[in-house]
Every structure is written in C-alpha cells, then in structure tokens.
C-alpha cells in the first residue's frame, strides 16, 4: 500500500551505503566508527545477538537470562504482559537501562561480533549505532522541526550543507516531508501526536543507526497515525534491523517477521510471527495470544 506522501520512492536507493555514516570522509567532523574494524559486517544489515542477559533494578531481577538473536533487516516484535521485562530488555540493547540509578545489566549484547558491553566501548557510540524511539513522542520542545531532526547530526559535527541534505532526506524517509516542508522552522511540538512520533523516528534515522529499537511506539497514537507508523516500519526494515516492543498483538502480527513472547523476565517462545499466533508451541504463549491472561 503506497503511503500518501509520494516523494519517498526516490530516496531509499541512496540510503544503501550503510557501512559509513554518509557523506564524504572529509566532511565528517566526527568519526564514523570504522565498523569493519570493529567486527560489524559491512554492506549487509546487522544483527543483534543477546546472550545470557540479566538486568536488575537494584535488587529486583527484571530480566532473567535471555538468549535471542534479532536477525538483520527484519522486524522482530516482543510481546508479553505488563512487567514481563520486555522494555527493560530492549533498553539493555542500547544501554539505556544503565542510566537508571541503581540499575545494572550483565551478560552480552553484540552488534554482529561487537560486544557493546565490552570494556573500552563508548556508550555514546553504541547509542548512535542503535537508535531508539520511545512510547511517548518526545521531540525536543525548544527546537524547531528542522533542529529536532538535526539534533543528532549536530552532535557528530555534521556540517551545514550536508546537514540540511540529511535532514530533508530523513523527513522524506519517514513520510513527513510533504507535511512539514514549508514549516521546518516551527516548533516540533506543534505537530500532531502521530506527526511528532514520525518526527522522532526521523530524528533517529538521521544519524543512520544500524538498528532501531522501538518501545511501544504507537501506544500513544490514534489508529490512523498508528497505521502510518506501521507502514513506515515496513519500509524502514529494508535498511535497518528493527526491534519493536508492543502490547498490541495485532500490531505484531501486522509488522513483525518474527515475534518473541516474554513472561516474567524470560523468553518463553521465539518464532516467526505467523507460527506464534496460529500454532504456538508453549502453553503459556497460547494462553497469552488467545487472551486468556494479559
């Protein structure tokens, strides 16, 4: 189904160079991490491997030993009842979990072969490579639409011409361009909820991460806005690896290639989405997807 904004068709091809962060090396004031050197395979998409992940809030054991692989260029959904640890687990992937006072994580999370918890790894680089979209759209309130998308790029010292180009590219990629191109200098929070969320997604993809994590990105949006974001996810997966936490099983069925069901901090089942919903292997999965508990 074609999205209403038709400019997007021309862009996707340009985005295929993934190994370096776009632009000529001379223009990049900040290094693009030399991914090949770091064990992150060039050209292809990037997978996330989680092994033996435990996460704690103080003494509370929220994630109890998780092993998953999120395959490259696929959308993996994570479903489960409230409090099962899905958000926590996802936040361990871009190391946001440790920002909470008293929280810690153990185990390994790898982007291809790069252990992002390794010693000597800079957490801010990890977060640039693994982007996150949050449940409540959170554009920076004091910034314009343009500045919001540019925020991450400015951090890495992208110069102004390159910057403008990349901001426009991002806005096109998320299908916002048509709606905002005449008001790029207006405040980001002046947009509707759905637009704000797409703005946040534009902000995230502007820095060209390898992976995009989404923590219930549509739960604050109305159905139409939700649909647009889901269409966007479908488009984005050709360029990124996407992990989406959702409490909405229909959404998982719509967007995800494979689905993980979590319960009580553990992975109960991980299978292609179709299989999870039509013939789940585990009895608990079956009870959850048929709505017997939730």
């Amino acid at each position: 189904m074609t999205p209403p904004d038709t400019d997007t068709q021309a862009e996707p091809k340009e985005q295929s160079q993934m190994s370096s962060a776009g632009g000529s090396p001379a223009e990049q004031a900040d290094e693009a991490p030399n991914l090949a050197e770091m064990g992150v395979r060039e050209g292809a998409g990037h997978a996330i491997n989680v092994k033996g992940l435990h996460a704690y809030y103080g003494n509370t054991h929220a994630v109890k030993g998780i092993d998953i692989t999120f395959p490259a260029n696929e959308v993996t959904a994570i479903i489960g009842p409230s409090g099962c640890g899905k958000s926590t687990m996802v936040r361990c992937i871009n190391r946001m979990h440790e920002e909470i006072p008293g929280a810690r994580a153990e185990g390994s999370v790898s982007l291809d072969d790069l252990d992002i918890y390794g010693s000597g790894i800079d957490v801010t680089s990890v977060r640039r490579m693994i982007g996150m979209v949050f449940q409540k759209p959170n554009p920076f309130p004091t910034m314009s639409i343009f500045d919001n998308v540019a925020a991450g790029l400015r951090l890495t010292g992208t110069k102004s011409d390159n910057l403008r180009e990349r901001v426009h590219k991002s806005l096109r990629a998320v299908g916002l361009w048509g709606e905002v191109k005449s008001r790029l200098n207006e405040p980001g929070i002046g947009l509707s909820g759905g637009q704000q969320q797409r703005l946040c997604i534009a902000r995230t993809v502007a820095v060209e991460p390898e992976v995009i994590l989404m923590d219930e990105p549509c739960s604050a949006l109305d159905p139409i806005a939700t649909l647009r974001v889901e269409e966007l996810i479908d488009e984005l997966k050709s360029r990124y690896t996407i992990v989406i936490v959702t409490h909405n099983m229909q959404q998982a069925a719509r967007v995800a290639d494979s689905t993980v069901f979590m319960l009580d901090g553990e992975v109960v089942e991980h299978a292609p989405t179709n299989d999870i919903f039509t013939h789940p292997k585990d009895e608990r999965t079956e009870r959850y997807v048929t709505g017997k508990f939730g």
């Binding site: 050197e37 000597g120 790894i121 010292g157």
Partner: protein, 289 residues
C-alpha cells in the same frame, strides 16, 4: 568477546564532556569556599572571645576600660524574635490555611498568594522603614521600642512562614481530608484534628527556618529598636540585639571590641545554624507521604 578496538567517539567530544563536567564540579567547589572561609574565620577570631563573662555581662558602652560581654544582646534578640514569632507564625499559618483549605484557586486567594510571594523579595530595610513611618514617627507607644522591632521582623518572617506552611499543608493527602469529611466531621474539625497534626513537623520546620532568618536581620532593627546596652526585659523600651551589637562593634577602633564582634558573630551564626540543622532534621525524619 572478540578483540575489538575502542569504538570511536570524537576525542573532541569526549574532552568537551570532561571539561564541562569539570567546570560544573569546579563551580560547586567555588560556591563552597566562602562557607568554609567564613566558618574558619569565625572560629579563628571568635572562639577566643567566648569566655564565661562574655555571656554573663552586658556591654559597657564605654570607650575606655573593659568592653563587656553580649548578654543583653543575646536576650534582646531572643525576646524580640520571640515576640515576632508569636505574631508571624500563627498569622502565617492562618493565611496558609486560608489558601489551602478555603481559598484554593479563587481569584482572591491567588492575589494573596501572589503578594505574599512578592513580599519575600522586599528588602528588609524597607520593612524597617514601613514600621518606622507608621509606628515610630507617629510616636505610638514611645519612639524606639523592642516590640516595634518585633513587628518589623514579623513582616519579614511572615511570607516565609506562609509559603512553607502552604507547601506542607498541600502535602497532606487530600484523601485524608476527604475521609474525615466523609465521616461527618465539620471542616474546622478536619483542619484542627487532621490537617494540622499531620502537617505539624513541616510547619515546625518552616517556622524554625523563619525564626533563623529573623534572628539575623539588622536593618529593620536599626529603625525601630535603635539600641541600648543594658539588659532589659521591657519590650517597650530600646533594647540591644546581637545583629545591632555586631554592627556597632565592627567599626570600632578598639581591637577588644572588634573581637567582641567576632565572638558575637560566632554566637549568632551558631544559633542560626543549629536552628537550621534542627529544622532539616525534623523535615528529614518525618516526611509526609
């Protein structure tokens, strides 16, 4: 895992981050230096004066001979601030009660809130001038008297009491009030039997802080109480107070008197610090849920 190089972030960014963090820490350290220095010098120059007679004798006021102690100053401060507290604390809590229990968001209440707030910014000398004009110049009840100073100080303390009391009263859970009202208690009973007792520690804290503030003020006293040397318990006369005593002594050419100023300053700061710490201890121990 595998042998991987350090994931690069621009060293410039790293440096900037460390630099700015260092500056923020540095700024905080700079902020604390004056505190340390003041306490250091107070102790250095003031401890020596704190003999027994320092507290048990009054300043002699004579240019030659022994300068005397600060007894009348201490008592004067205690008396004047006590009266000021008796005035400002009940009234302040009363206004706060009005704001939280009866006025709420009404226009009038907001106006009151606004002006009480603005009152905090009024310089203390202006309050002194007010009382001077209204009470001293007009000669009501004598010219310079202790109680007029109390009124000036109470004007100063009032907004502090109102503000802190309002914050505390608002912390009393609405559910508590509603439960009492639902049991059929009239509002005034809810206030006296439920709200005030629950808020009491916070109210005490706020009052202590207001008192500490009141004790340190000099300017208003200059215009309303003037000064004296002898110990007196008559608030209808001129009195000595610690701040005015210190103020007078600072500019004295006699070292002994300047030393007395340091001793008196140490005493005053000690009292104020103790009040502050008690207030914070109470606040910490009994936090409203």
């Amino acid at each position: 895992m595998s042998d991987i190089g350090i994931a690069a972030i621009s060293p410039a960014r790293r440096r900037k981050d460390r630099l700015m963090r260092g500056m923020l820490i540095g700024g905080t350290v700079i902020a604390l230096i004056p505190l340390v220095l003041i306490i250091y010098y107070l102790l250095l120059k003031g401890l020596g004066s704190l003999t027994g007679s320092f507290f048990t004798s009054d300043p002699t006021g004579s240019f030659f001979g022994p300068p005397g102690g600060i007894r009348s100053a201490i008592f004067g401060t205690l008396e004047i601030v006590a009266l000021a507290s008796l005035i400002s604390i009940p009234i302040g809590i009363g206004v706060a009660l009005y704001l939280t229990e009866y006025g709420n968001e009404s226009t009038f209440a907001n106006v009151v809130r606004y002006f009480v707030d603005v009152m905090t910014g009024v310089p203390s000398i202006v309050f002194g001038l007010f009382i001077y004009i209204v009470l001293v110049l007009s000669g009501i009840g004598g010219s310079f008297t202790g109680w007029k100073g109390s009124i000036a100080i109470s004007l100063l303390m009032l907004p502090i009491v109102v503000r802190s009391a309002e914050v505390v009263l608002l912390l009393v859970p609405g559910a508590l009030r509603e439960a009492a009202l639902a049991l059929g208690a009239p509002r005034w009973r809810v206030v006296t039997r439920v709200v005030l007792p629950t808020a009491l520690p916070g109210l005490i804290t706020g009052s202590l802080l207001a008192i500490a503030r009141g004790m340190g003020e000099t300017a208003p006293l200059l215009f309303t109480v003037a000064t004296a040397n002898a110990l007196t318990f008559n608030l209808g006369s001129q009195m000595n107070t610690l701040p005015t005593q210190i103020f007078q002594d600072i500019t004295s050419p006699r070292n002994a008197i300047v030393s007395r100023a340091w001793g008196a300053a140490l005493t005053l700061v000690a009292i104020i610090l103790i009040l502050n710490l008690i207030a914070r201890a109470i606040a910490r121990r009994s936090r409203l849920a």
